[in-house]
Symmetry: D3
Subunit: 237 residues, 6 copies
Amino acid sequence: MRPSNREKAQLRDVSFEMGAIKNAEGSCMAKFGDTHVLCTASVEDRVPPFLRNSGQGWVTAEYGMLPRSTNSRMRREAREGKQSGRTQEIQRLVGRSLRAVVDMGQLGERQIVVDCDVIQADGGTRTAAITGGWLALYECVEFLRSTELIKSNPITDHVAAISCGIYAGAAVLDLDYAEDSSAETDANFVMTGAGGLVEIQATAEQDPFSESQFSELLGLAKDGIAQLVQMQKAAIA
Amino acid sequence: MRPSNREKAQLRDVSFEMGAIKNAEGSCMAKFGDTHVLCTASVEDRVPPFLRNSGQGWVTAEYGMLPRSTNSRMRREAREGKQSGRTQEIQRLVGRSLRAVVDMGQLGERQIVVDCDVIQADGGTRTAAITGGWLALYECVEFLRSTELIKSNPITDHVAAISCGIYAGAAVLDLDYAEDSSAETDANFVMTGAGGLVEIQATAEQDPFSESQFSELLGLAKDGIAQLVQMQKAAIA
Amino acid sequence: MRPSNREKAQLRDVSFEMGAIKNAEGSCMAKFGDTHVLCTASVEDRVPPFLRNSGQGWVTAEYGMLPRSTNSRMRREAREGKQSGRTQEIQRLVGRSLRAVVDMGQLGERQIVVDCDVIQADGGTRTAAITGGWLALYECVEFLRSTELIKSNPITDHVAAISCGIYAGAAVLDLDYAEDSSAETDANFVMTGAGGLVEIQATAEQDPFSESQFSELLGLAKDGIAQLVQMQKAAIA
Amino acid sequence: MRPSNREKAQLRDVSFEMGAIKNAEGSCMAKFGDTHVLCTASVEDRVPPFLRNSGQGWVTAEYGMLPRSTNSRMRREAREGKQSGRTQEIQRLVGRSLRAVVDMGQLGERQIVVDCDVIQADGGTRTAAITGGWLALYECVEFLRSTELIKSNPITDHVAAISCGIYAGAAVLDLDYAEDSSAETDANFVMTGAGGLVEIQATAEQDPFSESQFSELLGLAKDGIAQLVQMQKAAIA
Amino acid sequence: MRPSNREKAQLRDVSFEMGAIKNAEGSCMAKFGDTHVLCTASVEDRVPPFLRNSGQGWVTAEYGMLPRSTNSRMRREAREGKQSGRTQEIQRLVGRSLRAVVDMGQLGERQIVVDCDVIQADGGTRTAAITGGWLALYECVEFLRSTELIKSNPITDHVAAISCGIYAGAAVLDLDYAEDSSAETDANFVMTGAGGLVEIQATAEQDPFSESQFSELLGLAKDGIAQLVQMQKAAIA
Amino acid sequence: MRPSNREKAQLRDVSFEMGAIKNAEGSCMAKFGDTHVLCTASVEDRVPPFLRNSGQGWVTAEYGMLPRSTNSRMRREAREGKQSGRTQEIQRLVGRSLRAVVDMGQLGERQIVVDCDVIQADGGTRTAAITGGWLALYECVEFLRSTELIKSNPITDHVAAISCGIYAGAAVLDLDYAEDSSAETDANFVMTGAGGLVEIQATAEQDPFSESQFSELLGLAKDGIAQLVQMQKAAIA
């Protein structure tokens, strides 16, 4: 039995609120149960140094958690004076995942920054950030196209992500915090709308896992991500 | 004429959503028009060094802005590696204002941290943080009282805050960003429910201001804060 | 009775030593009793990024305290690796106050940095920094005019500052440390030579203060600042 | 054809020099072709705060690259004032991987720090760090056992790691820099001596990868890691 | 000819103002011509970790320059977020030099911090800091002895320092900035009252120097330091 | 008797392995007994700001210690977020020493960075860094000459360094850690191939030292450095 009484292959209630922030070119509040991540996409007229005068654009991501998004208050990274290793790992993952479905030549020499800020956390914040981040990015690109700053669509496909894990000996989809904190194995999958794999991260939290266990997790992820892609399509329809 | 067509002494639409974050002991989403500040209050079983073994408690505040809460994206302070001078100034002000209405002996040797995070900004974030922060603090103290961790109420009064300014030559209440960015004088007032003054900060942005102009601003603030205190009372009723 | 036996409206012994540092374009050692603040003004041939190619100049300020300027030794900020929130608050205040009386177009595209370093502290360092900083700035501008780098005087008026407070129930002028550390209310006023208000900062350290108390403080400040402006005039005569 | 003319499933020349540093309780210079990583293991009589008085030990890792280990000189992280996101990601991975095969209760309340410093880099530094780090850890534990500081062996199994990737359309084992920098997909696998999976990290660098491609990579990794475990056994024989 | 018209073996005008800061247990304003260094000594009831419960005391030093002590304004280290390599080198030298003449057992388990802050710089700030720092330390120790916190005198001898250099081909004593900035060789000597050598630092700024040149510099330093020790004796008489 | 049974004027076994790192333009592993320092020289097509458009080049050095190069593990400076004062002092010394024998006009407007990383430490790391750093620099310059990037040799002479000290009352050459940690006086000498003095640093660790003791140390250093220069010549032959 899962703490939330969900079926093994059942997602939490997922919703995407487009246009959540008035000021941003693109934004989406992504909710996976009690995990709420606010994603915004901002256009900047500059690119990282290695792309200057290349005609190519760039997509990058930043990630943060509000101090009391979590059960016990976390220290504020701005006050600590640095981002934790975990934060950097996640924002690098989100950026890589989004770049996998963007044609940088079509984007033109500009950068889109996708900020993913966790307002409330209950497990699965990085996968919510990727899935919601794609929607913010999409809205931002539509804005650029409406202003004719870019001609053709640089977004080549959907990208979405979900966590899976071995919990109480069974493979389950979309871990919440109660499951995540005692899972034997924890995995995150990022896939495109066409079903291509973009990133796999699987970690044994206790005993090592087997190939067949990994296959089960991958199977769950494929179904879950297919559902998320459908929800993304509904959100931008 | 104000950009928002409000009367000179008219507040924006103000709302307080109590219990906005499930994880926190106290929380409130304070909205002043398009300015949205999420305030949470967290209990910690420790106090600053100068209070150890004193039996006295402490209330402190931290402030942050999401990078895209603003019209053009701000750099993330956690990435910059430090909080700006403005951020520190504001969080010191919020902490002082809240402490003005708390009896630290009644609180017991524990600290309450009030985090004020700006989700969307349209002027007046610091005054919204104080006004909403008091509500989060109140909810947190009620939680402590419900668990009988504290016996009597350490909160001695309401505290609320509002900005005023000289805009296009006239004194107006509750500046939004359009007004704030071109005001001749900008002032913030913090007052208690009983009408006592807790903090005044008035700054000439262009020409110096006169005593009579200042009196007008103070008059507007007194009326505005009285309304905010009534709304606080409704929110906790 | 005040600890120093001064009258309620009596300033401490104030002196301004012009040209205190040989190397600087302008300098002044400002002494308010045992509070000694060394102010220097330095010309730089660059302006902040937002003013580049604008033809406009800029005036900014930095503030520091020597570690043993205080009764018990403070940690050296350079060693701590950051300026405290208090330091940043003060240097922002000094910069704003000085800019209020400078015509940036007349200054030309250059920056004047006013450094205010507390050699010995006995309360009122920020107001001494503003009052002495104006004198260093004046001397620096005279130097620029003597070299014909600037033609007409960009300084439009005097600016000076003083603290007031409610001490032992009474409104008093120019708090020293003994008063400041136990004052019920603490306020700083910045005004021009013409009597215009540039900045008001008033804080209840214990109980809230009333409008009439605030009026008393403002009255004391007006008289005190008028005296300081006379002393500034004498110093540059 | 691979740039190094190796077969698809062929490791580079691998060697492990035990006792490479006289001062350390355990050390190993791990060479995978031109990738040379110096691993040392140090005993500390303290544990992280969350383990104090638990009787449990801890194993952690740190990672660094000498500035000129790489083709073009990298900036020295100690001078930059922070470890990069990549560095932190790698040292977290190395620590997790080693902890997967240590019984913390048997270790006793002490910490072993495994430092992995890249002397020369030619791809695959993180997997060399894990594989060589296990050997340094082993030597360190043997030292502790020889001094009878610990009674029974806390190391429960071998752990080793290797990279694989899709290079020029084909799945290949143990990427060197020439391959790594143009691979379509890059994956790192960490496994135990018993063949259990400890960590999988797979990333599409260009197009998404398929399940069957991933299976090929996993197959290569299993064989490669089995060889590395045999070499570890030889090194400690 | 020296720019200042001094003889080769002639010191600048040197003066020591004892008790320069009211708040400190010991203080001295040391002036070597236009080089003015304010030295204070502060007692702290703690020692560095390696001395806890040893019964031994410690003497340490910190060094700083006011931003406009120099000809062109230096950046404020507190704002830069770190002390420069030069600053750290100097404060380590000052600390070592003072510790050479203190019996740490007699001092008792407490620390004296000697802060040396350059108010105005014209060459030779580090040697002025050592020479003046000894006087501040002496005054501080006298204070501790007057309060009977320490019984016997922990100061075993004087210590003083001077710079010498090869300027325009000739060995000269006590370089000012005009000489220092074009000297071929620059050396600093620290000696005790009894004539023992505590520290020698000699650096070829252009061509290497010879043994005989070095001997000349050492000879000048011995005479200069003997004069400084006499002046220290007069200052504390 | 010296702990190592060496004669007073006897160097440890010294060796220089040229070309120790494949990736670098110049490299040398310098071993003085158990002290092993890896020196690399890297060419950069930029110079410090003060040399831009001057046609002059620059040589600079950086220094680091692997955390477990020492007997007890040191904290990693990259993790601490800053280089220690000792580290900065040493890298400044190495840079100055190397620059003393380079004609910056012949080098052209480029910078050579010499990285000196201590792999294993047993005293005398800074002098090994200078002596080995010169060899890395030499190899790098030969590479530049072979590519005809520079025409004539900018290296004007050898430079080498050695430590000496008063150990158990006697002057000895080339201190190892056992001697260094209990020496009464510790000195480092840097000299050219022609016998010119580049830098002298002598410090009394316990009692002050005398002129005649210093002369003995200098005598030992001259002989030791002459031997090191011969070994450098052999290494590049």
